[in-house]
Subunit: 295 residues, 2 copies
């Protein structure tokens, strides 16, 4: 019985953060400036507050300055746009994050569009997506989670070119940009979504599976071609009476079954998750370098 | 022996042009304005001149005013940008086309980017591609040839949702936007390109095949699942001593073989080709309606 190699996102993320820390120091020594990341949080969702806190801590750990605005739930779109405009102008800020979801009374597209294209470290601006999709063009930023998926493949020396890649999910923030990135590296991509018939047959053809459906344990061992590489983006809570919180987090892929068939797999947690913040820091550093014409 | 239904792009294009003509007349009657399309041609390539002439004729036939600037091969980028800026400002112009290819000394991306996003009737601006890719957004314009492919499927009542679609080719102007359009309509898409291994196996799974590879007769009968629908975008010259010009045009799909397996197929010429200009006129009309808030 074989057992898949574990793709250790936590370790890779740590390594990347160490690399970033060194580069930030170099920048500080050379030109006396450090990168800055601004986060705008609207409302008081607990999970959002946690994410923002984690991003702040991660910035501090590598020497990136973090800026933060917390607005009340009943703020207007104009309030948010005002703060975005300020950060767009502020030369100390090289990346701007709008923590999603926004309150329901706000037009998300309008607000995301207001972020200056060269500070859109989330890579969600449609122009960044268009530049990513177009073959001869380069986006200013690639979204953090998708970039993290590809980075894991790279750091583990997994060949992408010419391989069949099946991406499960086509969301703007994960599935779509992952697909575009894999195609840029010459994979032959198939995108599975909720309207796809016989997804298991299609997934079984994949050399590389990226799952971002948000369905606990959907991808069974029988869906996987022996030797396939699996990047599991899903983060799904399932009941677990033995856990102190009453639940635990699992991926989209049935890990125990997949381990016996795949050649490599990301665990959940500890796979793609930690890479997202590392890529956010990396995008912020790149943005600062570009703005300051450093290196 | 079965024989595929012929998807008659010439007839559909004629029907669409008749529809446009009526709408242009309505607009003229109601507000005294007709749509305007501007074409910028640089250099003296014969094929480009022919395309431009055909577009002009097509405009005239439906009552759209056409504007044209022909610049010498040795013009500068600034010359072209100047004319684009003029057309961007000109309220009589609702669509601007830059005839490609541009002379080699010009930066194509820079020039295409200069076209105002709401006059980009070719839909080549990266922002339009990004809006097309993002699920909850709408592009200002969809590129003409890809839109023509989908329009043919619609007008022939071919179901897209839930079907396996294989797109051969991933160019910015055909393969990529066709893929995004099919996915928007809930097809499960696979994109085949020059680095794809065993393309025939993949193509054989398709319910809908869209080929835009530019390789004469590449797709053989054995590549096609019985009953599949084929949209052949390829236009490829092959030697033909019997033709007065010494060559004739064929598609990417081996037509005689495909006819025996497919349920429906576009011929070359007379399939997708005529649809492109019809869609250009349609985009120009839509643009004028939007600009003039008509209807
Ligand atoms: N840092 C990290 O690690 C991150 C993890 N995530 C996790 O990734 C997962 C996906 O997130 P996100 O992309 O935002 O989710 P969305 O809900 O926006 O998108 C889910 C996608 O999966 C498809 N899908 C849903 N059910 C099925 C099914 N049964 N079979 C096939 N496809 C299906 C949907 O199809 P359709 O389009 O037809 O509806 C949709 O395209 C979540 O678990 C999320 O928590 C997300 C972001 C970051
Ligand atoms: N109005 C109309 O009907 C129009 C017709 N056309 C015709 O459509 C065809 C494609 O045009 P365009 O998209 O501009 O062409 P490009 O040359 O820009 O793109 C061709 C695409 O096909 C892929 N390809 C090439 N050879 C193979 C192969 N052997 N197997 C699989 N994939 C292959 C290429 O792969 P890779 O990316 O790896 O290089 C590329 O993605 C041409 O014949 C063109 O004349 C085009 C526009 C309008």
């Amino acid at each position: 019985e074989t057992s898949a190699k574990v793709i250790d996102g936590k370790a890779v993320a740590k390594q990347i953060k160490d690399e970033i820390k060194i580069e930030v120091l170099k920048m500080k020594d050379a030109i006396g400036v450090v990168p800055g990341l601004a986060v705008i949080l609207v409302g008081d969702r607990k999970d959002s507050a946690t994410y923002v806190r984690n991003k702040k801590k991660a910035c501090e750990a590598v020497g990136i300055t973090s800026y933060e605005i917390c607005l009340p739930e009943d703020s207007t779109e104009e309030d948010v746009l005002k703060h975005i405009a300020d950060y767009n102008e502020n030369p100390k800020v090289h990346g701007i994050l709008i923590q999603l979801p926004l309150p329901r009374h706000m037009d998300e597209a309008r607000i995301l569009n207001a972020v200056s294209i060269d500070k859109d470290v989330d890579g969600f601006h449609p122009l960044n997506i268009g530049l990513l999709a177009k073959r001869d063009r380069e986006p200013f930023f690639v979204s953090c989670t998708p970039k993290g998926c590809i980075e894991l493949l790279h750091r583990y020396g997994i060949t992408i070119k010419g391989k069949r890649a099946v991406i499960i999910g086509r969301s703007n923030i994960v599935g779509l940009p992952v697909s575009l990135l894999l195609q840029r590296e010459d994979a032959t991509i198939t995108i599975v979504h909720s309207r796809t018939e016989n997804p298991e047959e299609i997934v079984r053809q994949a050399d590389i599976i990226v799952s971002a459906a948000g369905k606990a344990n959907m991808v069974r061992g029988s869906w996987i071609k022996p030797g396939a590489v699996i990047i599991d983006v899903g983060i799904n809570p399932i009941d677990d009476p033995e856990s102190p919180r009453g639940y635990r987090l699992v991926g989209d892929v049935c890990y125990d079954e997949a381990c016996k068939v795949a050649s490599a797999i990301t665990p959940v947690p500890g796979g793609v998750g930690p890479m997202t913040i590392a890529m956010l820091l990396s995008n912020t550093l790149d943005s600062a370098k570009r703005a300051l014409k450093f290196e």
